[in-house]
């Protein structure tokens, strides 16, 4: 692999990781956020704390526990091995699992806020108009929470792009498989290849800025359409 190809591969892996992570988080996070927004369960704060944990936890701590779990001696890694697979640590799948945990609050919290803002009333109105619970979720709650979905998707994606600590702990630094842009940049700086570090850093900076800009611009438009 030429140095140029290696950087391009790292970028491709990063985008694939961020995209997959966002998709999985939207699928898992939507029902969780919906439940958190609607439940009157007394102990709901426990679940909320767990969801928010990756916000405050050093990524290395999260990575460390994931490494133990997914590695050959961990419960999940061991299970995979006994089933004839290979442990998840140091694989792309392992990275996806790690990123899902790492970016979880960035997807679930905006969704939960969006669902809470809608309130019960539009859903009750939909119920009196004959819409079943699932029907009113898809035809009322989801469309009304659209700005929340957009924020969640972009924040989840952008945050996964910048992941470093967790990836390093459980993914290692295997070029072509688990080397993502942030780690490639670190490598380049370590070996004093500043030009390559510049290219990747600048690219990531621009991409993140464009994504956030899109979110804020679109959310402003939503607000204007739906006062």
């Amino acid at each position: 692999m030429t140095p140029y190809e290696q950087d391009l591969t790292a970028l491709f892996i990063t985008l694939k990781l961020a995209g997959l992570t966002t998709l999985i988080l939207l699928l898992i996070g939507t029902p969780v956020a919906w439940w958190l927004a609607r439940t009157r369960w007394r102990l709901k704060f426990l679940v909320e704390s767990v969801v928010a944990l990756p916000l405050v936890l050093p990524p290395t701590v999260l990575g460390f526990y994931l490494l133990l779990t997914l590695g050959p001696h961990g419960p999940i890694g061991g299970l995979m091995e006994s089933l004839g697979g290979r442990p998840l640590a140091f694989t792309f799948t392992g990275l996806v699992i790690g990123s899902v945990f790492y970016s979880m609050p960035f997807v679930i919290q905006p969704l939960q806020n969006a669902f809470t803002t809608i309130g019960r009333r539009p859903l009750e109105v939909a119920a009196t108009l004959g819409a079943s619970p699932l029907d009113r979720f898809f035809t009322v709650a989801v469309p009304l929470a659209r700005p929340g979905f957009l924020t969640a998707a972009v924040l989840g994606f952008a945050h996964t792009l910048g992941e470093f600590g967790v990836v390093l702990m459980i993914g290692g630094n295997i070029p072509g498989e688990t080397q993502v842009v942030s780690i490639a940049i670190y490598d380049h700086v370590e070996s004093l290849e500043y030009t390559r570090a510049h290219w990747l850093s600048g690219g990531l900076l621009l991409l993140s800025f464009l994504l956030l800009m899109a979110v804020y611009a679109l959310n402003r438009r939503f607000r204007m359409v739906q006062p």
């Binding site: 009333r121 539009p122 009750e124 109105v125 939909a126 119920a127 009196t128 108009l129 004959g130 819409a131 079943s132 619970p133 029907d135 009113r136 035809t139 009322v140 469309p143 009304l144 659209r146 359409v225 739906q226 006062p227």
Partner: protein, 355 residues
């Protein structure tokens, strides 16, 4: 068809505890002060307050009973709340169609076109909710509720959040609903005026309990209820347009106790109208006055008297088969020696036509 309900709902330190039967036709007003449980009662009928052991039977169908709870989306109801309720992500047409699309063809009895026409919203169909006034939004919400061909229409103070001008704009539409639709309407309100104009029956709710139930004319004039003891206490009388004298711009309206002469715009012959007579506009004489400017004088029997403080008395009269209230000074009541059974004449100084 009647609606029978038994609800016991506890929310914090408020308890709704009612056992009621509502007529299966006409408008039944659920009337009472704020916080007396009107909205909770309507929500319970809609299935939005889930409580065990409650009972609700609409016509021959049990909606709620031992081991049975029909969820809100399976109840054939039209529900309009006080607050704006249109879906902001849909335009007016899609809002109107929302309930209709979820209705089987067999259950469609009211056409969307009819609902649109009844509420006069045909020109708004392509607008978005935020481009509409509060009154227009409410008219669309009512049309949307009608379009699901409900077995009951539940209206929870649909006018309360609107300004006076907007209320005047919607009231005629509600009156036409009353005349055109065969379905029972439950109308929650704390406005005497709306009840007097729209309702046939009423339930008086206080602190989560039913204080009285019956025809509007009867409840308005019952001296044991608070309605008869306010400064602007009124009687509501139903009458039929019998004729008109164009020379004097006067319409004649018949009721069981006689004939009212009412000035004002022509009314269609044989139409049923509602008259409002304020108690303070009714004076009493022992003998029929002949040389008087007052047009409406009726023979009446005193049924009951109730003192209002030390200066005034509210007198409940029977005129034909209707009750009429009169507010006079206590001195006059003593001078005229009024007591239950006294035969007197009621002079009505002012009458307002409500519909």
């Amino acid at each position: 068809m009647t609606i029978e309900a038994r609800f016991h709902v506890e929310r914090g330190d408020f308890t709704l505890d009612v056992d009621l039967a509502i007529p299966g036709s006409g408008v039944t007003a659920i009337f009472g002060p704020s916080g007396c449980g009107k909205t909770t009662l309507l929500r319970a009928i809609a299935g939005l307050e889930r409580t065990p052991d409650d009972y609700l039977k609409v016509g021959n169908e049990i909606w709620q009973g031992p081991g049975k709870f029909l969820p809100p989306h399976r109840r054939p109801i039209g529900y309009v709340i006080q607050e704006p309720s249109l879906f902001v992500h849909l335009n007016v047409r899609r809002n109107l169609e929302y309930g209709l699309r979820r209705l089987s063809n067999r259950a469609r009895k009211v056409s969307l076109e009819h609902a649109i026409e009844l509420l006069g919203i045909g020109h708004l169909l392509e607008r978005r909710p935020h481009q509409l006034s509060g009154g227009e939004q409410q008219r669309i919400a009512i049309a949307r509720a009608l379009a699901v061909s409900p077995a009951i229409l539940l209206l929870d103070e649909p006018l309360a959040a609107l300004e006076e001008q907007r209320k005047k704009e919607i009231l005629p539409y509600l009156e036409s609903l009353h005349q055109e639709l065969q379905i029972p309407v439950l109308y929650v309100s704390h406005s005497r005026n709306e009840v007097a104009r729209l309702a046939d029956h009423m339930l008086l709710l206080t602190d989560g309990r039913i204080q009285a139930a019956g025809p509007v004319g009867e409840l308005f004039s019952r001296l044991d209820l608070p309605l008869a003891h306010e400064a602007d206490t009124e009687t509501v009388i139903e009458a039929v347009v019998a004729g008109r004298d164009d020379t004097y711009d006067i319409s004649y309206l018949d009721f069981s106790g006689g004939r009212f002469a009412v000035t004002g715009k022509p009314l269609p012959r044989n139409a049923c109208v509602r008259l409002q007579v304020l108690a303070r506009d009714v004076s009493l004489t022992l003998e029929r006055q002949h040389q008087t400017s007052i047009l409406n004088i009726f023979a009446a029997t005193v049924e009951q008297l109730a003192e209002e403080g030390s200066a005034q008395v509210t007198v409940q009269l029977r005129v034909g088969s209707v009750s009429l209230l009169s507010r006079i000074t206590r001195k006059s009541a003593v001078d005229l020696d009024l007591k239950p059974g006294s035969e007197i004449y009621a002079q009505v100084k002012g009458v307002a036509v409500l519909t």
